[in-house]
Protein backbone atom coordinates (compact mmCIF):
# COMPACT_ATOMS: atom_id res chain seq x y z
CA UNK A 1 0.00 0.00 0.00
CA UNK A 2 1.26 3.44 -0.88
CA UNK A 3 1.84 5.83 1.99
CA UNK A 4 -0.38 8.67 0.75
CA UNK A 5 0.97 11.38 3.07
CA UNK A 6 4.61 10.75 2.21
CA UNK A 7 3.63 10.48 -1.44
CA UNK A 8 2.04 13.93 -1.38
CA UNK A 9 4.88 15.55 0.55
CA UNK A 10 7.45 14.06 -1.81
CA UNK A 11 5.47 15.30 -4.81
CA UNK A 12 5.27 18.79 -3.31
CA UNK A 13 8.97 18.95 -2.44
CA UNK A 14 10.10 17.95 -5.91
CA UNK A 15 7.56 20.36 -7.41
CA UNK A 16 9.02 23.13 -5.25
CA UNK A 17 12.59 22.38 -6.28
CA UNK A 18 11.70 22.11 -9.97
CA UNK A 19 9.55 25.22 -9.64
CA UNK A 20 12.71 27.08 -8.58
CA UNK A 21 14.55 25.63 -11.58
CA UNK A 22 11.71 26.57 -13.91
CA UNK A 23 11.78 30.16 -12.62
CA UNK A 24 15.53 30.28 -13.15
CA UNK A 25 15.13 29.22 -16.79
CA UNK A 26 12.21 31.59 -17.17
CA UNK A 27 14.40 34.51 -16.09
CA UNK A 28 16.90 33.60 -18.81
CA UNK A 29 14.67 32.38 -21.63
CA UNK A 30 11.20 33.66 -20.77
CA UNK A 31 12.17 37.23 -19.99
CA UNK A 32 15.56 37.79 -21.62
CA UNK A 33 15.32 35.38 -24.57
CA UNK A 34 18.50 33.43 -23.71
CA UNK A 35 18.18 29.78 -24.77
CA UNK A 36 20.18 28.03 -22.05
CA UNK A 37 20.19 24.31 -22.80
CA UNK A 38 22.76 23.58 -20.13
CA UNK A 39 20.59 24.33 -17.11
CA UNK A 40 21.35 20.95 -15.56
CA UNK A 41 25.04 21.90 -15.25
CA UNK A 42 24.29 24.70 -12.78
CA UNK A 43 21.83 22.50 -10.91
CA UNK A 44 24.60 19.88 -10.66
CA UNK A 45 27.20 22.41 -9.50
CA UNK A 46 24.87 23.54 -6.71
CA UNK A 47 24.06 19.96 -5.70
CA UNK A 48 27.66 18.73 -5.73
CA UNK A 49 29.00 21.80 -3.91
CA UNK A 50 26.44 21.36 -1.15
CA UNK A 51 26.92 17.59 -1.10
CA UNK A 52 30.72 17.63 -0.95
CA UNK A 53 30.95 20.48 1.56
CA UNK A 54 28.39 19.06 3.98
CA UNK A 55 29.38 15.41 3.66
CA UNK A 56 33.18 15.66 3.63
CA UNK A 57 34.00 19.09 5.06
CA UNK A 58 31.34 19.32 7.74
CA UNK A 59 30.03 22.67 6.54
CA UNK A 60 26.64 23.28 8.22
CA UNK A 61 23.39 23.27 6.23
CA UNK A 62 22.48 26.70 4.99
CA UNK A 63 26.12 27.70 4.49
CA UNK A 64 26.98 24.87 2.07
CA UNK A 65 23.93 25.70 -0.05
CA UNK A 66 25.02 29.34 -0.13
CA UNK A 67 28.44 28.20 -1.39
CA UNK A 68 26.64 26.21 -4.09
CA UNK A 69 24.67 29.29 -5.11
CA UNK A 70 27.84 31.36 -5.34
CA UNK A 71 29.75 28.73 -7.30
CA UNK A 72 26.89 28.11 -9.74
CA UNK A 73 26.49 31.86 -10.19
CA UNK A 74 30.23 32.22 -10.82
CA UNK A 75 30.12 29.39 -13.37
CA UNK A 76 27.17 31.06 -15.06
CA UNK A 77 29.01 34.36 -15.16
CA UNK A 78 32.14 32.78 -16.67
CA UNK A 79 30.13 30.86 -19.28
CA UNK A 80 28.12 33.94 -20.18
CA UNK A 81 31.14 36.07 -21.13
CA UNK A 82 31.97 34.17 -24.32
CA UNK A 83 28.62 32.43 -24.87
CA UNK A 84 26.36 35.48 -24.88
CA UNK A 85 28.19 37.04 -27.78
CA UNK A 86 27.01 34.12 -29.92
CA UNK A 87 23.93 33.72 -32.11
CA UNK A 88 20.97 32.10 -30.32
CA UNK A 89 21.43 28.65 -31.87
CA UNK A 90 25.16 28.67 -31.12
CA UNK A 91 24.37 29.64 -27.54
CA UNK A 92 22.06 26.63 -27.30
CA UNK A 93 24.68 24.20 -28.66
CA UNK A 94 27.44 25.70 -26.49
CA UNK A 95 25.41 25.44 -23.31
CA UNK A 96 24.42 21.83 -24.07
CA UNK A 97 28.11 21.07 -24.53
CA UNK A 98 28.94 22.84 -21.27
CA UNK A 99 26.36 20.70 -19.46
CA UNK A 100 27.96 17.55 -20.81
CA UNK A 101 31.45 18.75 -19.85
CA UNK A 102 30.32 19.36 -16.27
CA UNK A 103 28.83 15.85 -16.16
CA UNK A 104 32.07 14.38 -17.55
CA UNK A 105 34.09 16.17 -14.87
CA UNK A 106 31.78 14.86 -12.14
CA UNK A 107 32.04 11.37 -13.64
CA UNK A 108 35.84 11.35 -13.98
CA UNK A 109 37.19 13.30 -10.99
CA UNK A 110 36.76 10.51 -8.43
CA UNK A 111 38.90 12.21 -5.78
CA UNK A 112 36.38 15.04 -5.57
CA UNK A 113 33.01 13.59 -6.53
CA UNK A 114 33.47 9.82 -6.07
CA UNK A 115 32.71 9.52 -9.81
CA UNK A 116 29.94 7.15 -10.92
CA UNK A 117 29.39 5.88 -7.35
CA UNK A 118 27.92 9.20 -6.32
CA UNK A 119 27.87 10.72 -2.84
CA UNK A 120 25.68 8.93 -0.30
CA UNK A 121 24.90 10.07 3.24
CA UNK A 122 24.51 13.79 2.62
CA UNK A 123 23.23 15.06 5.98
CA UNK A 124 19.57 16.08 6.03
CA UNK A 125 19.02 19.24 8.09
CA UNK A 126 17.20 18.68 11.43
CA UNK A 127 16.92 14.97 10.65
CA UNK A 128 18.11 14.08 14.19
CA UNK A 129 15.33 16.15 15.76
CA UNK A 130 12.40 15.30 13.53
CA UNK A 131 10.94 11.88 12.80
CA UNK A 132 10.22 10.55 9.29
CA UNK A 133 6.98 12.22 8.33
CA UNK A 134 7.53 15.34 10.38
CA UNK A 135 10.87 15.87 8.70
CA UNK A 136 9.25 15.42 5.31
CA UNK A 137 6.65 18.06 6.21
CA UNK A 138 9.38 20.38 7.45
CA UNK A 139 11.46 20.01 4.30
CA UNK A 140 8.45 20.48 2.03
CA UNK A 141 7.66 23.68 3.91
CA UNK A 142 11.27 24.82 3.61
CA UNK A 143 11.29 24.28 -0.15
CA UNK A 144 8.07 26.23 -0.51
CA UNK A 145 9.38 29.12 1.58
CA UNK A 146 12.48 29.23 -0.62
CA UNK A 147 10.31 29.00 -3.75
CA UNK A 148 8.16 31.88 -2.47
CA UNK A 149 11.24 34.03 -1.78
CA UNK A 150 12.70 33.26 -5.23
CA UNK A 151 9.34 34.03 -6.84
CA UNK A 152 8.98 37.32 -4.99
CA UNK A 153 12.53 38.37 -5.81
CA UNK A 154 12.21 37.50 -9.50
CA UNK A 155 8.85 39.26 -9.77
CA UNK A 156 10.49 42.36 -8.29
CA UNK A 157 13.20 42.14 -10.94
CA UNK A 158 10.94 41.66 -13.95
CA UNK A 159 8.42 44.31 -12.88
CA UNK A 160 11.02 47.00 -12.52
CA UNK A 161 12.57 49.36 -15.08
CA UNK A 162 15.37 46.79 -15.23
CA UNK A 163 12.82 44.12 -16.13
CA UNK A 164 11.50 46.22 -18.98
CA UNK A 165 15.01 46.53 -20.38
CA UNK A 166 15.53 42.75 -20.43
CA UNK A 167 12.14 42.26 -22.10
CA UNK A 168 13.16 44.85 -24.68
CA UNK A 169 16.34 42.86 -25.30
CA UNK A 170 14.26 39.73 -25.81
CA UNK A 171 11.99 41.46 -28.31
CA UNK A 172 14.63 43.33 -30.25
CA UNK A 173 18.19 43.49 -29.05
CA UNK A 174 19.32 45.95 -31.71
CA UNK A 175 16.53 48.34 -30.77
CA UNK A 176 17.56 48.12 -27.11
CA UNK A 177 21.13 48.89 -28.10
CA UNK A 178 19.95 51.82 -30.18
CA UNK A 179 18.34 53.20 -27.02
CA UNK A 180 21.75 53.18 -25.38
CA UNK A 181 21.42 49.99 -23.37
CA UNK A 182 24.59 47.93 -23.00
CA UNK A 183 22.65 44.72 -23.65
CA UNK A 184 25.55 42.35 -23.00
CA UNK A 185 25.72 43.48 -19.38
CA UNK A 186 22.01 42.82 -18.83
CA UNK A 187 22.20 39.41 -20.48
CA UNK A 188 25.25 38.41 -18.46
CA UNK A 189 23.54 39.51 -15.24
CA UNK A 190 20.41 37.51 -16.02
CA UNK A 191 22.46 34.47 -16.95
CA UNK A 192 24.39 34.73 -13.69
CA UNK A 193 21.20 35.17 -11.69
CA UNK A 194 19.52 32.22 -13.41
CA UNK A 195 22.55 30.02 -12.81
CA UNK A 196 22.75 31.01 -9.13
CA UNK A 197 19.06 30.17 -8.64
CA UNK A 198 19.63 26.79 -10.30
CA UNK A 199 22.50 26.24 -7.87
CA UNK A 200 20.13 26.95 -4.99
CA UNK A 201 17.74 24.31 -6.31
CA UNK A 202 20.68 21.90 -6.55
CA UNK A 203 21.58 22.42 -2.89
CA UNK A 204 18.00 21.81 -1.77
CA UNK A 205 17.84 18.71 -3.96
CA UNK A 206 21.07 17.21 -2.58
CA UNK A 207 19.91 17.61 1.04
CA UNK A 208 16.51 16.20 0.21
CA UNK A 209 17.68 13.10 -1.66
CA UNK A 210 20.72 12.70 0.65
CA UNK A 211 22.39 11.00 -2.30
CA UNK A 212 23.62 12.42 -5.59
CA UNK A 213 25.22 10.72 -8.59
CA UNK A 214 26.18 11.81 -12.13
CA UNK A 215 23.22 10.02 -13.74
CA UNK A 216 20.84 12.40 -11.94
CA UNK A 217 22.25 15.27 -13.98
CA UNK A 218 21.72 14.15 -17.57
CA UNK A 219 20.59 16.49 -20.40
CA UNK A 220 17.05 15.13 -20.00
CA UNK A 221 16.75 17.18 -16.80
CA UNK A 222 17.36 20.34 -18.82
CA UNK A 223 14.71 19.30 -21.32
CA UNK A 224 12.19 18.65 -18.54
CA UNK A 225 12.75 22.15 -17.18
CA UNK A 226 12.19 23.48 -20.71
CA UNK A 227 8.90 21.60 -20.92
CA UNK A 228 7.83 23.15 -17.61
CA UNK A 229 8.57 26.65 -18.88
CA UNK A 230 6.93 26.17 -22.27
CA UNK A 231 3.93 24.36 -20.85
CA UNK A 232 3.40 26.78 -17.98
CA UNK A 233 3.89 29.90 -20.06
CA UNK A 234 7.19 31.57 -20.79
CA UNK A 235 7.45 34.99 -19.25
CA UNK A 236 5.04 34.12 -16.45
CA UNK A 237 6.65 32.97 -13.20
CA UNK A 238 3.39 31.66 -11.75
CA UNK A 239 2.80 29.78 -14.98
CA UNK A 240 6.14 27.99 -14.93
CA UNK A 241 5.53 26.86 -11.33
CA UNK A 242 2.22 25.48 -12.58
CA UNK A 243 4.13 23.81 -15.42
CA UNK A 244 6.47 22.17 -12.89
CA UNK A 245 3.47 20.92 -10.89
CA UNK A 246 1.73 19.49 -13.96
CA UNK A 247 4.87 17.67 -15.02
CA UNK A 248 5.43 16.19 -11.56
CA UNK A 249 1.81 15.05 -11.38
CA UNK A 250 2.25 13.48 -14.80
CA UNK A 251 5.32 11.63 -13.54
CA UNK A 252 3.60 10.34 -10.39
CA UNK A 253 0.42 9.71 -12.34
CA UNK A 254 2.04 7.37 -14.84
CA UNK A 255 3.83 5.56 -12.01
CA UNK A 256 0.61 5.40 -9.98
CA UNK A 257 -1.51 3.97 -12.80
CA UNK A 258 0.83 1.03 -12.90
CA UNK A 259 0.07 0.32 -9.25
CA UNK A 260 -3.64 -0.12 -9.91
CA UNK A 261 -3.69 -1.67 -13.37
CA UNK A 262 -1.19 -3.20 -15.72
CA UNK A 263 -0.33 -0.99 -18.63
CA UNK A 264 0.74 -2.57 -21.89
CA UNK A 265 3.50 0.04 -21.94
CA UNK A 266 6.32 0.91 -19.54
CA UNK A 267 5.05 3.95 -17.55
CA UNK A 268 8.39 5.76 -17.70
CA UNK A 269 8.57 5.36 -21.48
CA UNK A 270 4.94 6.44 -21.78
CA UNK A 271 5.63 9.57 -19.77
CA UNK A 272 8.60 10.48 -21.94
CA UNK A 273 6.61 9.91 -25.14
CA UNK A 274 3.86 12.17 -23.79
CA UNK A 275 6.46 14.82 -22.94
CA UNK A 276 7.96 14.63 -26.43
CA UNK A 277 4.60 15.00 -28.15
CA UNK A 278 3.58 17.69 -25.67
CA UNK A 279 6.62 19.81 -26.58
CA UNK A 280 5.83 19.70 -30.30
CA UNK A 281 2.09 20.27 -29.84
CA UNK A 282 2.64 23.17 -27.43
CA UNK A 283 5.11 24.95 -29.67
CA UNK A 284 2.77 24.37 -32.58
CA UNK A 285 -0.61 25.26 -31.09
CA UNK A 286 -0.08 27.12 -27.83
CA UNK A 287 3.35 28.72 -27.76
CA UNK A 288 2.25 31.09 -24.99
CA UNK A 289 1.62 28.17 -22.62
CA UNK A 290 -1.07 27.72 -19.96
CA UNK A 291 -0.73 31.18 -18.46
CA UNK A 292 0.10 34.07 -20.75
CA UNK A 293 2.69 36.65 -19.97
CA UNK A 294 1.19 39.61 -18.13
CA UNK A 295 1.11 43.06 -19.63
CA UNK A 296 3.63 45.51 -18.34
CA UNK A 297 2.16 47.64 -15.57
CA UNK A 298 3.88 50.69 -14.22
CA UNK A 299 2.80 53.47 -11.89
CA UNK A 300 3.07 55.91 -14.78
CA UNK A 301 0.57 53.87 -16.79
CA UNK A 302 -1.86 53.89 -13.88
CA UNK A 303 -1.57 57.63 -13.55
CA UNK A 304 -2.29 57.89 -17.26
CA UNK A 305 -5.43 55.77 -16.88
CA UNK A 306 -6.75 57.87 -13.99
CA UNK A 307 -6.49 60.99 -16.05
CA UNK A 308 -8.36 59.20 -18.83
Amino acid sequence: MVDVVSFVFDLLTITGIFGILAISLNMEYGFTGLANFGKVAFFAIGAYTAGILSRFQGVPFPLDVVCGILLAGLAGFLVSIPALRLREDYLAITTIAFGEIVRLIILNEDWLTRGPMGIPGIPAPLRDVLAGREWLAFYTGLCFVVLAVVYWMCERVVNSPYGRVIKAIREDEVAAQALGKYTFKYKAQMFTLGSAIAGLAGGLYAHYRQFISPDMFVPMVTFLIWVMVILGGKGNNLGVILGAAVLEVLERGTAFIQNITTLPIEPYNLRMMIIGVLLVVLVLFRPQGLLKEKFIKTRALKVGEEKG
Partner: protein, 297 residues
Protein backbone atom coordinates in the same frame (compact mmCIF):
# COMPACT_ATOMS: atom_id res chain seq x y z
CA UNK B 1 54.39 3.50 -24.19
CA UNK B 2 55.07 3.39 -27.88
CA UNK B 3 52.41 4.90 -30.08
CA UNK B 4 51.48 3.19 -33.30
CA UNK B 5 51.00 6.28 -35.45
CA UNK B 6 49.77 4.31 -38.44
CA UNK B 7 47.06 2.71 -36.32
CA UNK B 8 46.01 6.05 -34.87
CA UNK B 9 45.74 7.50 -38.37
CA UNK B 10 43.73 4.52 -39.57
CA UNK B 11 41.37 4.77 -36.61
CA UNK B 12 40.97 8.46 -37.36
CA UNK B 13 39.88 7.66 -40.90
CA UNK B 14 37.35 5.16 -39.54
CA UNK B 15 35.93 7.67 -37.06
CA UNK B 16 35.93 10.38 -39.72
CA UNK B 17 33.98 8.14 -42.11
CA UNK B 18 31.34 7.62 -39.45
CA UNK B 19 31.04 11.37 -38.98
CA UNK B 20 30.78 12.03 -42.74
CA UNK B 21 27.75 9.77 -42.92
CA UNK B 22 26.21 11.07 -39.72
CA UNK B 23 26.79 14.78 -40.25
CA UNK B 24 25.74 15.34 -43.88
CA UNK B 25 22.02 15.32 -43.19
CA UNK B 26 22.34 17.59 -40.18
CA UNK B 27 24.39 20.21 -41.96
CA UNK B 28 21.93 20.27 -44.90
CA UNK B 29 18.77 20.58 -42.80
CA UNK B 30 20.44 23.10 -40.48
CA UNK B 31 21.14 25.39 -43.43
CA UNK B 32 17.84 24.90 -45.26
CA UNK B 33 15.46 25.12 -42.32
CA UNK B 34 17.65 27.39 -40.19
CA UNK B 35 17.64 25.42 -36.96
CA UNK B 36 19.83 22.74 -35.37
CA UNK B 37 17.80 19.53 -35.41
CA UNK B 38 18.46 17.74 -32.13
CA UNK B 39 16.27 14.85 -33.28
CA UNK B 40 19.02 14.02 -35.77
CA UNK B 41 20.53 11.90 -32.97
CA UNK B 42 17.44 9.71 -33.01
CA UNK B 43 17.65 9.23 -36.78
CA UNK B 44 21.02 7.61 -36.09
CA UNK B 45 19.43 5.44 -33.39
CA UNK B 46 16.50 4.38 -35.57
CA UNK B 47 18.90 3.22 -38.30
CA UNK B 48 20.86 1.15 -35.80
CA UNK B 49 17.73 -0.64 -34.53
CA UNK B 50 16.22 -1.11 -38.00
CA UNK B 51 19.47 -2.81 -39.00
CA UNK B 52 19.22 -4.95 -35.86
CA UNK B 53 15.78 -6.22 -36.87
CA UNK B 54 16.99 -7.18 -40.33
CA UNK B 55 20.16 -8.77 -38.93
CA UNK B 56 18.03 -11.05 -36.78
CA UNK B 57 15.61 -11.88 -39.58
CA UNK B 58 18.16 -12.36 -42.36
CA UNK B 59 20.77 -14.48 -40.61
CA UNK B 60 23.27 -11.62 -40.17
CA UNK B 61 23.13 -10.13 -43.64
CA UNK B 62 24.87 -6.83 -42.89
CA UNK B 63 24.57 -5.20 -46.34
CA UNK B 64 20.83 -5.81 -46.31
CA UNK B 65 20.70 -4.38 -42.78
CA UNK B 66 22.38 -1.20 -44.02
CA UNK B 67 19.68 -0.81 -46.66
CA UNK B 68 17.02 -1.24 -43.99
CA UNK B 69 18.76 1.36 -41.82
CA UNK B 70 18.74 3.83 -44.71
CA UNK B 71 15.07 3.25 -45.52
CA UNK B 72 13.84 3.37 -41.90
CA UNK B 73 15.74 6.52 -40.97
CA UNK B 74 14.80 8.37 -44.13
CA UNK B 75 11.13 7.56 -43.54
CA UNK B 76 11.32 8.75 -39.94
CA UNK B 77 13.14 11.89 -41.10
CA UNK B 78 10.46 12.68 -43.67
CA UNK B 79 7.70 11.98 -41.15
CA UNK B 80 9.26 14.32 -38.59
CA UNK B 81 9.51 17.00 -41.25
CA UNK B 82 5.91 16.65 -42.41
CA UNK B 83 4.37 16.28 -38.94
CA UNK B 84 6.44 18.74 -36.93
CA UNK B 85 8.99 20.94 -38.66
CA UNK B 86 7.07 21.88 -41.80
CA UNK B 87 3.87 22.98 -39.98
CA UNK B 88 6.03 24.92 -37.52
CA UNK B 89 7.93 26.73 -40.25
CA UNK B 90 4.63 27.54 -41.97
CA UNK B 91 3.43 29.16 -38.75
CA UNK B 92 6.54 31.28 -38.65
CA UNK B 93 8.12 29.60 -35.63
CA UNK B 94 11.45 31.04 -34.56
CA UNK B 95 14.73 29.22 -34.29
CA UNK B 96 14.40 28.50 -30.57
CA UNK B 97 10.88 27.13 -31.03
CA UNK B 98 12.03 24.80 -33.79
CA UNK B 99 14.93 23.69 -31.63
CA UNK B 100 12.64 22.95 -28.72
CA UNK B 101 10.25 21.05 -30.99
CA UNK B 102 13.15 19.01 -32.36
CA UNK B 103 14.05 18.02 -28.80
CA UNK B 104 10.43 16.91 -28.37
CA UNK B 105 10.59 14.86 -31.57
CA UNK B 106 13.88 13.32 -30.45
CA UNK B 107 12.61 12.41 -26.98
CA UNK B 108 9.50 10.84 -28.48
CA UNK B 109 11.45 8.68 -30.94
CA UNK B 110 14.02 7.65 -28.32
CA UNK B 111 11.39 6.38 -25.93
CA UNK B 112 9.44 4.60 -28.66
CA UNK B 113 12.69 2.77 -29.41
CA UNK B 114 13.22 2.08 -25.72
CA UNK B 115 9.66 0.80 -25.38
CA UNK B 116 10.08 -1.63 -28.27
CA UNK B 117 13.61 -2.91 -27.62
CA UNK B 118 14.20 -2.00 -23.97
CA UNK B 119 16.95 0.04 -22.38
CA UNK B 120 19.38 -2.86 -22.01
CA UNK B 121 22.23 -3.00 -24.48
CA UNK B 122 22.21 -5.40 -27.40
CA UNK B 123 24.70 -6.37 -30.09
CA UNK B 124 24.39 -7.50 -33.67
CA UNK B 125 26.21 -10.70 -32.81
CA UNK B 126 28.51 -10.58 -35.81
CA UNK B 127 31.99 -12.01 -35.66
CA UNK B 128 34.32 -9.38 -36.97
CA UNK B 129 36.98 -10.50 -39.36
CA UNK B 130 40.36 -9.00 -38.65
CA UNK B 131 42.86 -8.06 -41.33
CA UNK B 132 46.49 -7.26 -40.64
CA UNK B 133 48.21 -4.81 -42.96
CA UNK B 134 51.68 -4.74 -41.51
CA UNK B 135 51.42 -2.47 -38.48
CA UNK B 136 47.75 -1.60 -39.00
CA UNK B 137 44.98 -3.84 -37.83
CA UNK B 138 41.51 -3.38 -39.35
CA UNK B 139 38.18 -5.14 -39.07
CA UNK B 140 35.81 -5.77 -41.95
CA UNK B 141 33.34 -3.32 -40.36
CA UNK B 142 36.03 -0.61 -40.41
CA UNK B 143 36.76 -1.22 -44.06
CA UNK B 144 33.07 -1.29 -45.00
CA UNK B 145 32.57 1.98 -43.14
CA UNK B 146 35.40 3.72 -45.01
CA UNK B 147 34.17 2.28 -48.31
CA UNK B 148 30.60 3.43 -47.69
CA UNK B 149 31.69 6.93 -46.74
CA UNK B 150 33.86 7.27 -49.85
CA UNK B 151 31.12 5.89 -52.10
CA UNK B 152 28.58 8.24 -50.52
CA UNK B 153 30.80 11.28 -50.95
CA UNK B 154 31.47 10.46 -54.61
CA UNK B 155 27.82 9.75 -55.41
CA UNK B 156 26.50 12.84 -53.62
CA UNK B 157 29.18 15.00 -55.23
CA UNK B 158 28.24 13.77 -58.71
CA UNK B 159 24.57 14.21 -57.86
CA UNK B 160 25.08 17.80 -56.68
CA UNK B 161 27.26 18.81 -59.61
CA UNK B 162 25.93 16.84 -62.58
CA UNK B 163 22.18 16.45 -62.16
CA UNK B 164 19.51 19.08 -62.47
CA UNK B 165 18.01 18.05 -59.14
CA UNK B 166 21.40 18.37 -57.47
CA UNK B 167 21.87 21.85 -58.87
CA UNK B 168 18.39 22.80 -57.68
CA UNK B 169 19.36 21.52 -54.25
CA UNK B 170 22.47 23.69 -54.11
CA UNK B 171 20.51 26.69 -55.34
CA UNK B 172 17.89 26.17 -52.64
CA UNK B 173 20.58 25.88 -50.00
CA UNK B 174 22.20 29.14 -51.15
CA UNK B 175 19.03 31.18 -51.37
CA UNK B 176 15.61 29.55 -50.90
CA UNK B 177 13.52 32.55 -52.02
CA UNK B 178 15.54 33.06 -55.16
CA UNK B 179 15.35 29.33 -55.88
CA UNK B 180 11.58 29.45 -55.47
CA UNK B 181 11.37 32.46 -57.78
CA UNK B 182 13.33 30.50 -60.37
CA UNK B 183 10.64 27.86 -60.41
CA UNK B 184 12.31 25.30 -58.16
CA UNK B 185 9.86 23.27 -56.08
CA UNK B 186 11.45 23.98 -52.70
CA UNK B 187 9.08 21.69 -50.80
CA UNK B 188 10.15 18.76 -52.95
CA UNK B 189 13.83 19.63 -52.52
CA UNK B 190 13.34 19.67 -48.76
CA UNK B 191 11.80 16.20 -48.83
CA UNK B 192 14.76 14.87 -50.82
CA UNK B 193 17.20 16.44 -48.37
CA UNK B 194 15.43 14.77 -45.45
CA UNK B 195 15.36 11.46 -47.34
CA UNK B 196 19.07 11.46 -48.14
CA UNK B 197 20.29 13.10 -44.94
CA UNK B 198 18.12 10.97 -42.67
CA UNK B 199 18.99 7.81 -44.58
CA UNK B 200 22.76 8.17 -44.32
CA UNK B 201 22.42 9.09 -40.65
CA UNK B 202 20.67 5.72 -40.24
CA UNK B 203 23.52 3.95 -42.06
CA UNK B 204 25.96 5.69 -39.73
CA UNK B 205 23.91 4.39 -36.79
CA UNK B 206 24.12 0.82 -38.08
CA UNK B 207 27.91 1.08 -38.46
CA UNK B 208 28.33 2.67 -35.05
CA UNK B 209 26.22 -0.05 -33.44
CA UNK B 210 28.23 -2.73 -35.27
CA UNK B 211 31.44 -1.24 -33.89
CA UNK B 212 30.13 -0.74 -30.36
CA UNK B 213 26.67 -1.85 -29.17
CA UNK B 214 23.00 -0.90 -29.38
CA UNK B 215 21.41 1.34 -26.75
CA UNK B 216 18.53 3.81 -27.10
CA UNK B 217 20.86 6.75 -26.35
CA UNK B 218 23.31 5.67 -29.05
CA UNK B 219 22.50 8.63 -31.27
CA UNK B 220 22.77 11.09 -28.43
CA UNK B 221 26.28 9.80 -27.66
CA UNK B 222 27.57 11.01 -31.02
CA UNK B 223 25.28 14.02 -31.47
CA UNK B 224 27.67 16.57 -30.03
CA UNK B 225 30.66 15.37 -32.09
CA UNK B 226 28.34 15.54 -35.12
CA UNK B 227 27.41 19.10 -34.22
CA UNK B 228 31.11 19.87 -33.85
CA UNK B 229 31.69 18.50 -37.37
CA UNK B 230 28.81 20.54 -38.79
CA UNK B 231 29.97 23.75 -37.15
CA UNK B 232 33.65 23.20 -37.96
CA UNK B 233 32.81 22.46 -41.59
CA UNK B 234 30.57 25.48 -41.87
CA UNK B 235 26.81 25.05 -41.56
CA UNK B 236 25.32 23.86 -44.84
CA UNK B 237 28.65 23.00 -46.44
CA UNK B 238 28.84 19.38 -47.60
CA UNK B 239 32.51 19.64 -48.56
CA UNK B 240 33.37 21.48 -45.37
CA UNK B 241 31.67 18.73 -43.38
CA UNK B 242 33.78 16.04 -45.10
CA UNK B 243 37.02 17.81 -44.19
CA UNK B 244 35.75 18.55 -40.69
CA UNK B 245 34.70 14.93 -40.15
CA UNK B 246 38.23 13.63 -40.74
CA UNK B 247 39.78 16.45 -38.71
CA UNK B 248 37.45 15.56 -35.85
CA UNK B 249 38.32 11.87 -36.25
CA UNK B 250 41.99 12.72 -36.02
CA UNK B 251 41.48 15.05 -33.05
CA UNK B 252 39.57 12.42 -31.10
CA UNK B 253 41.98 9.58 -31.76
CA UNK B 254 45.09 11.66 -31.15
CA UNK B 255 43.36 13.22 -28.18
CA UNK B 256 42.76 9.86 -26.51
CA UNK B 257 46.46 9.00 -26.84
CA UNK B 258 47.32 12.42 -25.48
CA UNK B 259 44.92 12.08 -22.55
CA UNK B 260 46.40 8.69 -21.64
CA UNK B 261 49.95 10.07 -21.83
CA UNK B 262 49.02 13.09 -19.72
CA UNK B 263 47.64 10.78 -17.07
CA UNK B 264 44.08 12.05 -17.52
CA UNK B 265 41.06 9.80 -17.76
CA UNK B 266 40.17 8.74 -21.30
CA UNK B 267 36.61 9.30 -20.12
CA UNK B 268 37.26 12.86 -21.23
CA UNK B 269 37.25 11.78 -24.90
CA UNK B 270 33.85 13.45 -25.60
CA UNK B 271 35.25 16.68 -24.18
CA UNK B 272 37.61 16.91 -27.16
CA UNK B 273 34.69 17.39 -29.54
CA UNK B 274 33.05 19.87 -27.16
CA UNK B 275 36.25 21.88 -26.89
CA UNK B 276 36.58 22.05 -30.68
CA UNK B 277 32.89 22.95 -30.99
CA UNK B 278 33.11 25.79 -28.51
CA UNK B 279 36.41 27.06 -29.89
CA UNK B 280 35.07 27.18 -33.48
CA UNK B 281 31.86 28.92 -32.42
CA UNK B 282 33.82 31.56 -30.57
CA UNK B 283 36.66 32.11 -33.02
CA UNK B 284 35.33 31.32 -36.51
CA UNK B 285 31.59 30.55 -36.50
CA UNK B 286 31.53 30.23 -40.29
CA UNK B 287 33.86 27.22 -40.03
CA UNK B 288 36.09 25.83 -42.74
CA UNK B 289 33.67 26.90 -45.47
CA UNK B 290 34.15 30.50 -44.30
CA UNK B 291 37.86 30.30 -45.02
CA UNK B 292 37.52 30.19 -48.78
CA UNK B 293 35.05 33.02 -49.25
CA UNK B 294 36.37 35.28 -51.97
CA UNK B 295 36.41 38.94 -51.15
CA UNK B 296 35.51 41.15 -54.07
CA UNK B 297 37.10 44.57 -54.49
Amino acid sequence: MGINIAQVLFNSVVTGSLYVLAATGLTMTYKLLRFPNFAHAELVTVGAYAAYVVMLASNLNFPLALVAAFVASSLVAVASHLLAFKPLSKRGAGMIELMVASIGVGVFIRYVVQEIWGAAQRTYGIVRQIFDFGVVRATDVDLAMIGSAVAFVVILHLFLVKTKLGKAMRATSDNPSLAMASGINVDRILLIVWLIGGGVAGVAGAFYAAKTRLVPILGWEILLPIFAVVVLGGIGSFYGAIAAAYIMGLAENLGVVLLANLGLSTGYKPAIAFAILIAVLLLKPTGLAGLKVRRVG
